[in-house]
Amino acid sequence: MAKMTMVQALNLALHQEMEKDDAILVLGEDVAVDGGVFRVTEGLLEKYGELRVIDTPLAESAIIGTAVGMAIHGLKPVCEIQFSGFSYLAFHQLESHAARMRWRSRGAYHVPLVLRTPYGGGVRALEHHSESRESYYAHTPGLKMVIPSSPRNARALLVSAMRDPDPVVFFEPKSIYRAFREEVPDEEEALPIGSAQVVREGNDLTLISYGAMMQPTLTAADRLAEEDGIQADVIDLLSISPLDEETCVNSVRKTGRVVIVNEAPRSFGPAAEVMARLIEKSFWYLEAPIRRVTGYDVIIPLFAYEQAYLPDAQRILRVARETLDVVS
């Protein structure tokens, strides 16, 4: 048991799984000698050698496309795309092959590939380095889409992603890569993909979020308790797809009021799907319209204004209070 940052926890997951399973290899730009630009893959080259820890040429489609071939022939490639904003260069390899090979070959081949990539705003980065477009992947049949929110669940989910027989897109919230530490057990730990967690319990309101947005969401929940005496159920989705609608529905049936928070652009974003599922499964329990607090439908600005773009506790709190104020 040690207190770790998310980067360290992810690194632990990679070390332990590569140790256990020879089929796992890591590939991407700068992942070997440099240890990854965020150091998530640090020390792997020294331990597992250059056949399994691969600095690739600068070509994202090649990273995913070769990984598809590797996976078909018995390997478990863990691909790093340096920033999620560059994953679009490989979009066709993901959509057209990784997501479809099992289906196309009727089970003869499958693609146990993990695409790890840092996403999201808040680190004062350049253009294309701060986006949050998990919807693209969540909407793609054949993929799974996972986003952890803390060092411990990041490690446990990455372990599951590496053990998953199907392709998993794994978004790492880079703004909390090193923002805080958490106890991470030495022994193995895996969390099931497709299960959300209720991380705070309450009967008055449901707050649903994931990834880096769990931080302002939890702050808002704390303030609601302190300032308003309101107890919120807070759900951390962890998986965007499959979406754990049961956990969401159960909570909303209890609270009747719900606010969903995501930093992605608002329209056609993840919150809309959560809303849709809740309408389908818990409409009659709703005491107020479902609300969403999201990024705006613009390109996330360069860093001088990025904090203004990102949902924060204040915005969540305001919308939560509006939701609580609704007389049904």
Partner: protein
């Protein structure tokens, strides 16, 4: 210090052994057994006749769109003939002869082009990837297969097929470049059939040959007369041997011609002349190879007739079996929910059940 010419480590060659007039370069002629040569011939003929049959079935509405191979039999079979079973093969969508040689059944093609995804099933033990429709994208998979072969410490190779048009896609570039960097045992087989739908080869790139694109990657490149199965075979076996020996990838350009339509949805008269087709009819690979076999005393007209009959029956049987199979599969639309994930997630199971409960269309 002034202007100096950059030395390239090798040059790009063209290879031709058996020309369209039947002339043979004895020095380059590969030493192949009669049995092997006849097997090649058999598959060339099977590929051609099966294609013709599929075209008819398509015209009758019994199967859907597909991409005929006529004219490209030598280019395909000469290439895969250099492989062994444990090697991998990744087709594009116009490689039925190669896939048949590598153990896939005619029935599976008929199912696939009949609209049944069951046709995409790959039988146990056969190392062919399924058909890849998005042009050029499968080329990278063969680099990954090659890499995996290295990791497993095997001396297999991965051979991938693609067209002249595919060389314009970024994935072609990334694939050959990565194979060069990682020295993967990958054989890149470009079937330059002169057209990408309506776009002629000359409009696809200003490069004089596609083989010379290998120079961009520091990888050996070679061009063949792709209608000469001996030349195709020699280029392929050299590349395969180099790959097995750990010396990395090769780019092969087989210069051939698509004698038929691009796909059954295409009308080639919109973009090419009859005369051009006529020229290439004369360069057609099967009759050329038959003449060679006859000259060697391995084949007679009678033997050809017998073989044609045999093939005809085989095809007829495959069509019957496939159509019977389609009949039984017709009502299994619910299988669309299978094989997306190893385990079906809850939301998908729910959709499947809703489908089962309500579907009234089949």
């Amino acid at each position: 210090m002034p202007r100096t010419t950059i030395d390239l480590p090798y040059q790009v060659e063209h290879i031709s052994i058996l020309d369209e007039d039947g002339n043979l370069d004895h020095d380059l002629e590969p030493d192949l057994s009669e049995e092997f040569l006849l097997r090649l011939h058999r598959y060339m003929l099977l590929g051609r006749r099966f294609d013709e049959r599929m075209l008819k079935l398509q015209r009758q509405g019994r199967i859907g769109t597909f991409a005929p191979i006529q004219g490209q039999e030598a280019s395909q079979l000469g290439s895969v003939a250099a492989l062994r079973d444990s090697d991998w093969m990744a087709p594009a969508f116009r490689e039925s002869a190669a896939q048949l040689w590598r153990g896939q059944s005619m029935e599976s093609f008929l199912l696939y082009y009949g609209g049944y995804f069951r046709g995409g099933e790959i039988p146990e033990g056969i190392r062919n990837l399924p058909v890849a429709i998005p042009v050029g994208t499968q080329i990278l998979h063969a680099v990954g297969l090659g890499y995996a072969i290295k990791v497993h410490g095997q001396d297999d190779v991965a051979m991938v097929f693609f067209g002249d048009g595919a060389t314009s896609e970024g994935d072609f570039h990334e694939a050959v470049n990565n194979a060069g960097v990682f020295k993967t045992p990958t054989i890149f087989v470009c079937q330059n059939n002169q057209y990408a739908i309506s776009i002629p080869r000359s409009h696809q790139t200003q490069a004089k040959t596609l083989a010379q694109k290998a120079l961009a990657y520091g990888v050996p490149g070679i061009q063949t007369d792709g209608n000469d199965i001996l030349a195709v075979y020699v280029a392929a076996i050299e590349a395969v041997e180099r790959a097995r020996a750990g010396e990395g990838p090769t780019l092969i350009e087989n210069v051939t011609y698509r004698l038929s339509v691009h796909t059954t949805a295409d009308d080639p008269t919109r973009y090419r002349d009859e005369e051009e087709v006529a020229v290439w009819e004369k360069r057609e690979p099967i009759s050329r190879f038959q003449r060679y076999l006859k000259d060697k005393g391995m084949l007679t007209d009678n033997a050809i007739t017998a073989l044609e009959d045999e093939i005809k029956d085989e095809i007829a049987e495959a069509v019957d079996k496939a159509e019977e199979r389609m009949e039984t599969l017709k009502d299994e639309a619910i299988t669309m929910f299978d094989h997306l994930y190893a385990e079906r997630p809850a939301y998908l199971e729910e959709q499947r059940q809703a489908f089962a409960a309500h579907w009234e269309k089949a």
